[in-house]
């Protein structure tokens, strides 16, 4: 691109960035107003900043507990997805043959199945076995998350030479040792990608927890947000404070790991 175009492009970029951020700006600005002031003017900054909305939203959302619930479910699910998908992909990539091809194909094909197609039997069957709880939810995330993760690991594993496995085996390592001490550390870049993609999805998921988590006090952030919003639907000052609270952890995480996150998402889509 020639230099003379750069300044107008720069201006265009900044303009678009403002447009992109406008919804967040309006959310934060109005969350600091009183109910009446939002009603009078939504676009202006608040005349006097009040944090009362946040105090009330924080306690009604039971924010610390809700946050912890989301964190526990997301961390355990993602760790299990990483460990078990990497192991499965390793087995599938090392034992070539018809059985591995079929199993790999089934995993990839499962990505095409929309959640709604399995939702109803899934919930009724898990309900019968009293598995509509946190453990059941984590198990479901493993099932739904495995496909893409195995696909990504499989691609990475195919470029790690088998002679490495053989050398380690000759040195006396068993299957698990070869995998854990030699192969898994080499998969680190793809593990970061798998971790990021699954974290974004599970942290933000609403539908599955809404069907599975039915005990009070176990709600994840999106689930709690739904109930909270339903209660305060006409009280935007509280609703917006709640929404801002829900977003803050994500924004902080993004601030620290933006490069890894963008790269992870791009690698996940392109590979």
């Amino acid at each position: 691109m020639r230099k003379k175009y750069l300044i107008p492009l720069e201006v265009l970029g900044i303009f678009l960035a403002i447009v992109w951020l406008a919804p967040f700006y309006l959310m934060v600005v109005n969350s600091l107003k009183t109910k009446r002031e939002i009603f009078e003017d939504t676009l202006k900054p608040p005349s006097s900043v009040t944090f009362d909305n946040y105090v009330q939203a924080f306690s009604e959302l039971d924010f610390l507990r809700t946050f912890a619930n989301s964190l526990i479910i997301t961390v355990i699910s993602v760790v299990l997805i990483i460990i078990f998908s990497a192991m499965a992909a390793y087995a599938l990539s090392r034992a070539k043959g018809r059985i591995s091809t079929i199993i790999f194909f089934v995993f990839v094909a499962a990505m095409l199945i929309p959640f709604q197609s399995v939702m109803i039997p899934l919930v009724t069957v898990f309900g019968k076995f009293e598995m509509l709880n946190r453990a059941g939810l984590i198990f479901m995330y493993l099932g739904f998350g495995a496909s893409l993760s195995i696909f990504l690991y499989h691609g990475a594993l195919n470029s790690i030479p088998r002679t490495l496995d053989e050398a380690a085996t000759i040195d006396g390592a068993n299957r698990f040792q070869v995998f854990w001490y030699i192969i898994f550390p080499m998969l680190k870049p793809i593990t970061v990608t798998v971790g990021i993609l699954n974290t974004i999805w599970i942290w933000n998921d609403y539908l599955l927890p809404s069907l599975v988590i039915n005990q009070k006090g176990m709600e994840t952030i999106p689930l709690k947000m739904f109930f909270f919003f339903g209660e305060y639907t006409k009280q935007w000052h509280l609703a917006l404070a709640g929404l801002t609270l829900a977003i803050i952890p994500v924004v902080i995480a993004y601030f620290f790991a933006q490069r890894e996150i963008i790269k992870g998402v791009s690698d996940g889509a392109v590979k």
């Binding site: 265009l12 970029g13 499962a110 197609s117 109803i120 899934l122 995998f179 791009s266």
Partner: protein
């Protein structure tokens, strides 16, 4: 490792068990239930294709299918257009390009449910406020009519997903060789010709990927639909995913909802496969 080794099955066991119990078994069980009069607890017997015949006369279902299709087509085009434009913008040598990437991508990190609520506020309150300042009546009451509800969903999805698609296009754009572009410039190609004849064919594979992602995301949309319009007014902005949910857990018509879910699966699978097939073929020709 061989497929008859015990370690092979030990390595595969956890994900194989999870996939079977969570996806495969429910899929087949669901297909079975769709031919019965199952009510979620028990079945009295087979009803053959009754559920399927009924859903082709079900106006609510057909409307949701049509609304979803319209929404997906418009969104896919807009998201790809905006995504590619943003990618071209931030790969120009701007001083701000890193910050811009970060900002455009940000909505994707936040859940669809929360984004829908934020935009519900923008459309109902901020639009109305802005409308009364500049004196545009039509900005009042967004989301309260079918067509503004439709565009509300399109705007929300375009704003959210363009940044994601941008990231994919960037990955391919950065792979376009500088020498090739310089050579084209020396040969007298202008910016438009360079884009059409050099850049565009080289990013065609990105188009396949992003088409697949946008299409499957918009077709299966649920969270944003629920939180932005809730399907209203009068179920007119209800997409298929939500229609299935409401048939099942709102009206407890389980077998019938499951028949809709099976049709939904077939549509998604066919659309996805056809789309990838067409795009792949087009790539080869270029």
């Amino acid at each position: 490792m061989r497929t008859r080794d015990l370690s092979y099955w030990v390595f595969l066991m956890p994900v194989l068990a999870a996939l079977t119990l969570v996806v495969i078994a429910p899929l087949f069980l669901g297909i079975y239930y769709s031919f019965t009069d199952w009510n979620g607890i028990q079945t009295k017997g087979f009803v053959g294709f009754d559920n399927y015949i009924a859903l082709f006369k079900d106006e609510r279902f057909l409307n949701s299918l049509w609304f979803t299709t319209k929404f997906s087509v418009v969104s896919v085009i807009l998201i790809n257009l905006i995504g590619l434009s943003l990618a071209l913008l931030v790969t120009a040598k701007l001083k701000t390009n890193k910050v811009l990437r970060t900002i455009f991508f940000m909505p994707n990190l936040i859940g669809g449910l929360i984004l829908g609520f934020i935009w519900q506020f923008i459309f109902t309150k901020a639009f109305a406020g802005f409308g009364s300042i500049v004196g545009i009546e039509s900005l009042q009451g967004w989301l309260s009519t079918t067509s503004t509800g439709f565009w509300g969903l399109v705007i929300l999805m375009s704003w959210q997903m363009s940044g994601y698609i941008m990231v994919i296009y960037i990955a391919y754009l950065e792979g376009v060789s500088k020498e090739l572009l310089e050579a084209a410039e020396i040969d007298g190609a202008n910016a438009f010709q360079r884009f059409r004849s050099v850049i565009f064919p080289l990013v065609a594979p990105a188009f396949t990927v992003s088409m697949f992602l946008t299409l499957s995301n918009t077709f299966k949309l649920y969270d944003q639909n629920l939180s932005l319009t809730g399907g209203g007014p009068y179920n007119s902005t209800q997409m298929v995913a939500m229609e299935i949910f409401n048939t099942a857990f709102g009206r407890y018509d389980m077998a019938y909802a499951q028949a809709k879910a099976v049709i939904f699966f077939l549509i998604v699978a066919v659309v996805a496969l056809v789309q990838v097939y067409i795009n792949k073929k087009r790539e080869v020709e270029m």
